[in-house]
C-alpha cells in the first residue's frame, strides 16, 4: 500500500474533513454520547478480534517477547521525552514529567486506525497486539510521575486511590482487555454469529469516529495557550524517535511486517485518554493545555497522516 493510498483511504479522509471543518470554524459536531458509543464499539470490536485471533493461533513465545518489550518501552520512552522537553522544549520538571508520561503510554485510536490500514493492505497485525497495547498503557504513568518528582507522594486527603483506579480500571482498557478475553473464550466459530456487527460495520464507524477526532484535535490546538513552536516540533519528533525504537525492537523480536508496524505505532503514539485523567489527579499543577495539545492536537494527527504510512512502509521494507 502506497502512502497516497493510505492518505486517500476513507478513514483518513474523514479525519481530514473533521480537521478542515474545525479549522474553518464550522458548527459541525458529533454529539458526545454518540462519540462515546462509537468509541465503545471500536474498543469492543478490536478487543474481540484480537482475542479470536489468539484463540486460533495459540499463545507463543513471540507474544511474550512483544509484551515484555512493550512494557519496557512504556517504562523507558518517557526518559527520552523528558530529556528533550527539558532541554529543547524549555518546560519545567513538572510539565516535562506530565508530558513524558503521555509519550510512553499509547493511543488506542491510533492503534485501531493503524490496524485497519494494515489489514486493508494485507499485512494484518497479530491479534495479541491488543494485549500488548493494554500492557503499555500504565508503566509510563509511573515513570512520568517519578520524573516530575512528585512520585507517589500525595497531600493528605488528595485523591491517591482514585488515580490508581483510573489508571488500572480505565474504561477503555477494561473494555479492550475484557473483549479480548471474550474473544479468546468464544473462538472463531462463536464469533461468526456476532461478526456482522463487529466486523462489517467497523470501517464505517471508524470513519465517523475519526471525523470527530479531526474536529476535536483542531479545536484543541486552536484553544491551547501554552504551546510553542518548539513543543510542536517535539510533538512531531517524538513519534518519529519512539516509533523508530519500537520498530527496532520489533525487528529484533523477529515480528512479521504487519505486527512490527503496529508495534512501532504503539511506541510512536501518545495517550490522550487514560494518562491525561491520571495526570489531572496526580499532577494538578501541570498544564493540561500543554500535554493534551501535544498528544491530541499535534502527535495524533501526525501519526494518522504521516506515521502510519511511514512505519508501515518501513516495516514492510525491513521485515517483509
Amino acid at each position: 500500500m502506497s502512502t497516497i493510498d493510505t492518505l486517500l483511504s476513507p478513514v483518513i479522509l474523514f479525519f481530514i474533513l473533521g480537521a478542515l471543518a474545525a479549522a474553518a470554524r464550522s458548527d459541525l459536531s458529533v454529539p458526545e454520547p454518540i462519540a462515546k458509543g462509537m468509541s465503545l464499539y471500536l474498543m469492543a470490536a478490536i478487543g474481540l478480534k484480537g482475542g479470536v485471533q489468539v484463540s486460533a493461533a495459540g499463545m507463543s513465545s513471540e507474544m511474550a517477547g512483544a509484551a515484555i518489550a512493550g512494557m519496557g518501552l512504556s517504562f523507558g520512552l518517557p526518559f527520552i521525552a523528558f530529556a528533550l522537553l527539558r532541554s529543547w522544549g524549555g518546560l519545567d520538571r513538572l510539565n516535562s514529567g506530565a508530558v513524558a508520561a503521555h509519550y510512553g503510554s499509547v493511543s488506542i485510536v491510533t492503534f485501531v486506525t493503524a490496524t485497519e490500514a494494515l489489514t486493508r493492505s494485507g499485512a494484518e497485525p497479530a491479534g495479541y497486539m491488543v494485549a500488548v497495547l493494554a500492557l503499555m498503557e500504565t508503566p509510563a504513568i509511573l515513570t512520568g510521575l517519578l520524573l516530575a518528582q512528585n512520585g507517589l507522594k500525595q497531600k493528605s486527603g488528595a485523591p491517591g486511590g482514585h488515580i490508581w483506579r483510573e489508571v488500572f480500571l480505565n474504561g477503555s482498557v477494561v473494555l479492550l482487555l475484557g473483549a479480548f478475553f471474550v474473544g479468546l473464550v468464544i473462538g472463531k466459530d462463536k464469533y461468526a454469529a456476532i461478526s456482522p456487527v463487529f466486523t462489517t460495520g467497523f470501517s464505517g464507524i471508524l470513519c465517523l469516529f475519526l471525523l470527530d477526532m479531526g474536529l476535536v484535535a483542531v479545536r484543541r490546538l486552536r484553544e491551547s495557550r501554552g504551546m510553542t513552536l518548539r513543543l510542536v516540533s517535539l510533538g512531531i519528533a517524538l513519534p518519529l524517535i519512539n516509533g523508530s525504537l519500537g520498530l527496532g525492537a520489533a525487528l529484533m523480536l523477529g515480528l512479521d511486517a504487519g505486527t512490527a508496524a503496529a508495534f512501532a505505532m504503539l511506541a510512536a503514539s501518545a495517550s490522550y485518554i487514560a494518562v491525561p485523567a491520571a495526570m489531572r489527579m496526580a499532577l494538578p499543577k501541570a498544564d493540561p493545555g500543554i500535554y493534551l495539545s501535544m498528544s491530541l492536537a499535534v502527535t495524533f494527527p501526525f501519526n494518522i497522516i504521516v506515521g502510519i504510512p511511514l512505519f508501515a512502509a518501513l516495516a514492510v521494507r525491513l521485515a517483509g
Binding site: V30, G157, H162, R219, R225, P276, A277, P284, G289, L292
Partner: protein, 103 residues
Amino acid sequence: MVELVRRKRIDILIDAPLCEWLAETAAGVGISHYTLASLAAGMGHGGAWRDEDVSGAVAKRMFIAITGEAKVQALINALEPHLGEYGLVVTIADVDVVRGERF
C-alpha cells in the same frame, strides 16, 4: 402555606476525573446527598475546556449540595489544601428550601 427553611447551597466547579474524590470528601463531613451536573464548555484561568473533548480530562462538572452551614464549613476546610492546585471554584449561597428537615 408551605414552610420555608433557610439552608446553605454549595456549588463546586471541578474537573470530571475528580468527582468521585469530591463526593467521598463531602461524605466524610456528612454531606452524602448531592447532584452532579454536566457542563458544556467554558473558559477559565487554565484555558478553554469542553465536555466533548475526547480525553474527558479537562471536562468539568458542577457539584451541588444543600445542607446546613456547619457541614458546608467543614467541607470547605477539608478542601482548603486542594483549592488552588485542583482549580476548584466554590460558591456558597443562602437558599430557602421546602421540606427543610431533609437537608
